[in-house]
Symmetry: D2
Subunit: 308 residues, 4 copies
């Protein structure tokens, strides 16, 4: 690798330059704007070639190389790209967001400044029902009559919250203390910077259907509108190999191999050895979460389920 | 370093074992409990000796070595100790806490569970006045008549907030959405684990008088009640070399050296070259923050201030 | 979660306490010793229950919960455990080891101390042949006659290297400079501390058959001899869900679902759309790495390969 | 902060663009090249203003704000800038370099590729003498006659090392094993990316006179030639407030304050209480490292040393 004589031009991505600073609207009063970025698909390829040498050098193979890197969970070449966003987001979504420790963040301080006079509001048709199966999630919407009532209560409450905050400021209470009863969904703003490897991990978790709707809305825009423009080859590979991928455990894989040969008895034996087929008193088997997960997967693959 | 034959006993700190699991109370309804720890003063010494070799081996020098390491900002030996805490803390203090990215954290999820039915309350004599000089801080207390009024408004507001939350749950709203208007100071709980190097950094920032009172209360207990018991030599060194230390810039140091010789003209010249002594229209100098900071320091040292 | 009154005993793992400090031998002159640890299987469960609440509290479910956490790639509960090792390892294996940035490390300094007088040696039957398929790996052993010659040359070279180093020290050259020509496989020693989540990631990469044999030897002992004793439930789950798991991409999964229904034409169409079946001039298809990988997987599962 | 309508142009630094890709030569065969960067002085200011609000907005104050941030050890605004370098560096300097865990790195693999056929050589007048006072450092140069002898031995040794490596490759030994006896100072290459906050920390440690000369040569070029061009205001502040700063412990500060009032007895009392003035048998005091360090500082400040 003798690149010593080579004067470089700074890499840029015209498709991303076009939207630099332009806000994407999210929720009722949120936004995402790209402030700056470093690198592009080519920068991923270039870093991989430093590591893995000349053999990877045919230009025609850039897409193949990026797909290979992502498929085999190589990480450092993707760290060579970074993205800086300006976001405006309700604090309760931000509480989830900030759990990703690999970002650099500057958030508006409500010790220094008066809190943003806006909090996320819920339209009557947007109240979500607690899911039964999934303890952490929601499932469908409440009826509109109930929705109207809840939204009215929400509006009244927000007005009260704002009055309480303003009264404190008027009485001279320190901003750091006055804010203590602001609703969790009060908007905050931040600059947020992350490298592409960690950003893809963030998106895999936060675009997932199990993620809370609010942060999923943000993640989906970051992924589909921003990352897809910025590093289209990496994004395509990510959709194929991460978002759309399915993993099988050692036991699951063994059972599938038995099903593949048509040997259902063998499949049953492996499941029994794994403790998945304990008989229930009233017939059938005791509920087993691992068995249930494989049942679902086998049905998706149109394969026969040995224990059904 | 041939330690091959040596069977070890696990290091333990009896003074810390005694308080394992026992809650320290913080604020009106918060707590801190030590859940577990790894290492002790001796573990710091031992790690340093792996790096710096035999020369550091006299037992009598353990204290001196730890002081040396901390004074010269060595970091990795302090990383060899870790502390795991259980904390109960208002979410708005937690928002500051979680910004320290080098911790491992498991926080109670209000998607899975119903939110804790407690939020931090303010006694009438605890309302703090916005500081003028320090935009981010507070300075003194509001009078008690105002305090009574504010506390009453706070109580009423919290009741309303709780009703709004409970109404949503009764109507079947998903927990992840119902919580959206909880007050910021609603208590949350977490397990929080950090190594000693990063913990001392956390304490240096959060025990500082500029830190917000609420998180300072937690940090002070962690430092004085827990870390001081756990690693007493490291804690003593930390108080001497970090909490109590003062730093002088290159320019400040040059000016002090000039003052040391009594050459006030030279001191003035250095300050002028640094742009600190621009004349104001109405006499004296234009305000300069760097000059002001040195003025304060010189007075603490009982040294003459050249420009006064 | 009201655990306020509860005095705790410090968690310990007798099976690990037994081997604390006792060296495992690795390579010709390397070692691994456990120095200390924090947490156990129970600590993982306990941290998860802080996050996910009461629903996870039945003791009988500890194993199921740990398996669930690992299967669904939850990370923070595993961060609550830490392991501290003393290792003696050739610098060229250490160069790979130190790339894992989430560890705390104190390595013997050859600036402070004279370098260890030992470097890894190769027996005549241990010289490995360069692999053809796998550019980064090895494949089989050289014949013994060649091995004898190579080992003799290695021995002679090491003697020379040692003479060069010693001569420099005798002439008064600074240790930091004298060491510059030591062979890469000179042994070094370090204390190395990592949390369990990151340790499992380290082991997944370094116990993998693609990892270099030397570091794989270390990783295998850490995994099978140490982690398996320390957190047996987590280790079992790791073997099932990480070491033994297989991942299928979105495209692979679609093709498998088509095969499941027996619709081979559909399977071929999906592969064609993905660009996997470009015709070669001399018949058959152009080589395609993604297609080849699925071919291998399908054969393992005893499923029909549509394009063969 | 309503920046919603604002289309941005991507920030760039013409002074850095000019040298993009152009190698700086280091040591006998090393190099540093800037590959890409993100942000500039203005980006630091901008991020700080998100946090600290409108009060910081006068353009004339950019320099003052950056100096304030660096003086008070604010970190996140500096994380908003990143630098990506291509370096060619001897492996033994790289072993120190890679200890900085906050970088993203892609290093040339000598498993995939044949090792670089170059290692760092030492001219006869460049052999450094082991320092007595400073166990880790060097102090002056060996005489030229000895230097000639050492350089000749070095040259011979390198030839032998190369022959050994080449013989192994010819015999078909796997590259991953053939490299095991390469000299530590064999050159390697890497892409290396770090944010400005962590880069300044790296430079503070590695430009320090106590750092080993080889890595100091690299760090000095990165600092003086690259960072100084890229973010000139941050660099100036760094030189004033970090490189040139001196820190005083709590005890040191108390003693200095006593000296400031001229009360030498008080100064002696504080030092005695700190255990710095234990009488030696043969008169004077027992050696005390903390006292010695303050003695040096007081002399630099032209202040009287109470115990001399």
């Amino acid at each position: 690798m003798d690149q010593r004589a080579e004067k470089l031009n700074r890499p840029g991505v015209p498709a991303l330059d076009e939207i630099l600073g332009v806000p994407f609207e999210v929720l009722d009063d949120g936004l995402i704007r790209v402030i700056d970025y470093m690198g592009d698909d080519q920068a991923i390829v270039q870093a991989a070639r430093v590591s893995y040498g000349e053999g990877t050098k045919k230009t025609s193979d850039d897409r193949g190389l990026i797909r290979y890197l992502l498929r085999h969970r190589h990480t450092t070449p993707f760290e060579m790209c970074s993205l800086k966003l300006h976001i405006r987001v309700p604090m309760d979504a931000w509480r989830q967001w900030i759990r990703h420790r690999t970002a650099s963040t500057n958030e508006t301080s409500t010790r220094y400044s008066i809190a943003i006079d806006s909090s996320q509001t819920t339209a009557p048709d947007q109240w979500r029902v607690q899911a039964i199966d999934n303890k952490q999630g929601s499932d469908g919407w409440l009826d509109s009559k109930t929705g109207v009532e809840l939204t009215q209560a929400e509006t009244d409450f927000k007005n009260t919250a704002r009055q309480v905050y303003n009264q404190r400021l008027e009485f001279g209470v320190a901003r750091e203390q006055a804010r203590k009863d602001l609703p969790l969904c009060t908007y905050t703003e931040a600059y947020w910077k992350m490298d592409l490897h960690n950003l893809l991990h963030f998106l895999a978790l936060r675009m997932d259907p199990h993620a809370q709707k609010e942060i999923r809305d943000y993640a989906t825009i970051i992924g589909r509108e921003i990352v897809a423009r910025w590093v289209p080859l990496a994004w395509e590979a990510f959709e194929d190999y991460r978002m759309g991928s399915v993993s099988y455990s050692r036991i699951e894989h063994k059972i599938m191999a038995a099903i593949g040969t048509g040997d259902m008895e063998d499949a049953m034996r492996i499941a029994t050895d794994a403790g998945w087929l304990k008989p229930a008193k009233k017939g059938g088997f005791i509920r087993n979460r691992e068995r249930d997960e494989l049942t679902t997967k086998l049905k998706t693959l149109n394969l026969k389920v040995p224990w059904e």
